[in-house]
């Protein structure tokens, strides 16, 4: 049997998994891996295959968008206690932005292929995880809308 004790503890500490049934968390821990990225290091690039999602345990990750001829634009930052990456759930399963460690980051990655296998075996586990993802996605969408409306900008007739 794969020993998941350490991973289990890391998941149990993370707010994303708060209140998850112990047995389920042990199953998820079997797909988890500890990762470390130095400041400035890229975690993934746009267009690469999205085969994981990440929990931030320590540090700050910048989600960036590259527009040719312009400087990298940071769309959002993700912090301790938060998660990023849901392209693994949506076809064509490729990242739609870059992720860069702004400072030393300690992350837990969850392997998408491994998780999908577990979901096939236990649909309720997939449902549990989806219920955790949806509020995070909704919050990010609402934040992105607020960023888009340029609320601190000058009145429209001055722009």
């Amino acid at each position: 049997m794969v020993k998941t004790g350490g991973m289990y503890d890391l998941l149990a500490e993370h707010p994303f998994f708060a209140g998850m049934d112990k047995g389920r968390m042990e199953v998820v821990a079997g797909c988890a891996m500890n990762e470390r990225f130095e400041a400035g290091q890229y975690i993934f690039h746009e267009g690469e295959s999205a085969d994981k999602f990440y929990l931030v345990r320590h540090g700050m990750v910048a989600l960036e968008f590259h527009v040719p001829g312009r400087e990298q634009t940071v769309l959002d930052t993700v912090h301790k206690g938060e998660i990023f990456g849901w392209s693994w759930m949506v076809s064509p399963y490729t990242w739609s932005f870059d992720a860069r460690a702004v400072e030393l980051c300690r992350l837990v990655s969850l392997d998408a292929k491994c998780l999908r296998g577990k979901f096939d075996a236990d649909n309720s586990l997939g449902y549990d995880l989806l219920r955790r993802f949806i509020p995070v996605m909704a919050e990010r969408l609402s934040a992105a809308r607020m960023q888009m409306i340029d609320m601190y900008g000058q009145p429209p007739d001055r722009k």
């Binding site: 960036e64 960023q147 009145p155």
Partner: protein, 287 residues
């Protein structure tokens, strides 16, 4: 309610409709469209008393008059400090004035941030854009009396790193051991090493005792509309959230009705409102 420094300072001036001439003694550029002016009375030297959150009506001769919050330290009676963003006719005219120029001033007016009621609580100060200016006197006051408050957290959101107001002071406050400061921007390039995202996301990340916290919120109305539910969600009730509202003003003393907001007048019943007293109006369009 016992008379505190704040309630004493909120007494109306002798003739609130007559502008008193003030001279500009200093102009400092803060951002591309935002500047700070220091004013002293052209005649006499009576110290100017105000409570954090109050505003003055500034009159540019021959152009017009606008409400502007006081952004200086309430402990400094020697000068009146305002931080102004140029957005139109009068604020553009104010921006063109140089040191030595005269303006008319009426005030101070309006309700203050309730810093006496927040004593003993964790204080969350949430600002967006130029909304940090009306909050700055409250920050000074809290820091001048630091032992009266629990944890003090300042969450500030700006458009880009170049639009961060009072950057030097934010850095200084951040360096203190008794205050938590976090700043986010809506958009940035890779050179910015701080958070990117909306100010409501900072609120979720701040480590404070939500059930014993009071929040002072000032910024664009849309920002406040999103900040309040976030505060509610983490446990800060509406009767412990205070917001500063803006409406067009004329008289500033509750006569003309220009600043009407539902049944309230922003000039006299506000600009600082306890959120539960206005929550029903907050999402009504065209108010």
């Amino acid at each position: 309610m016992p008379a505190t420094a704040a309630t004493a300072a909120t007494a109306l001036p002798a003739d609130p409709m007559v502008p008193v001439p003030y001279r500009i003694t200093r102009v400092a550029r803060e951002l591309s469209d935002t500047f700070t002016v220091d004013l002293v009375p052209a005649r006499g030297k009576a110290p100017f008393r105000f409570a954090p959150g109050q505003f003055n009506m500034l009159y540019v001769y021959g152009v017009g008059e606008v409400p502007i919050s006081i952004s200086g330290d309430p402990a400094d009676g020697a000068r009146v400090r305002h931080t102004i963003r140029a957005v139109g006719t009068v604020t553009d005219a104010l921006r063109r004035l140089k040191k030595g120029a005269m303006v008319g001033l009426r005030g101070p007016f309006g309700t203050p941030w309730p810093l006496d009621l927040t004593e003993g609580c964790d204080v969350l100060i949430i600002g967006g854009g130029v909304g940090l200016a009306p909050l700055r006197p409250a920050i000074y006051e809290v820091l001048n009396n630091r032992d009266r408050y629990g944890k003090v957290c300042l969450f500030y959101g700006a458009r880009t790193p170049d639009d961060i107001l009072f950057r030097g002071e934010l850095e200084k406050w951040r360096g203190r051991f008794d205050m938590f400061v976090d700043v986010t921007v809506d958009r940035a390039t890779g050179r910015w090493a701080g958070p990117v995202g909306v100010v409501t996301q900072l609120i979720r990340r701040g480590g404070f005792d939500a059930y014993h916290a009071c929040a002072l919120v000032c910024g664009p109305e849309v920002m406040m509309r999103f900040a309040v539910p976030t505060l509610n969600e983490i446990g800060v009730a509406n009767d412990r959230i205070f917001v500063s509202m803006e409406r067009n003003m004329k008289c500033a003393v509750g006569f003309c009705g220009h600043c009407q907001f539902g049944g309230a007048f922003v000039c006299k019943d506000g600009p600082v409102f306890r959120y539960d007293t206005i929550s029903k109006l907050f999402n009504v369009r065209e108010l």
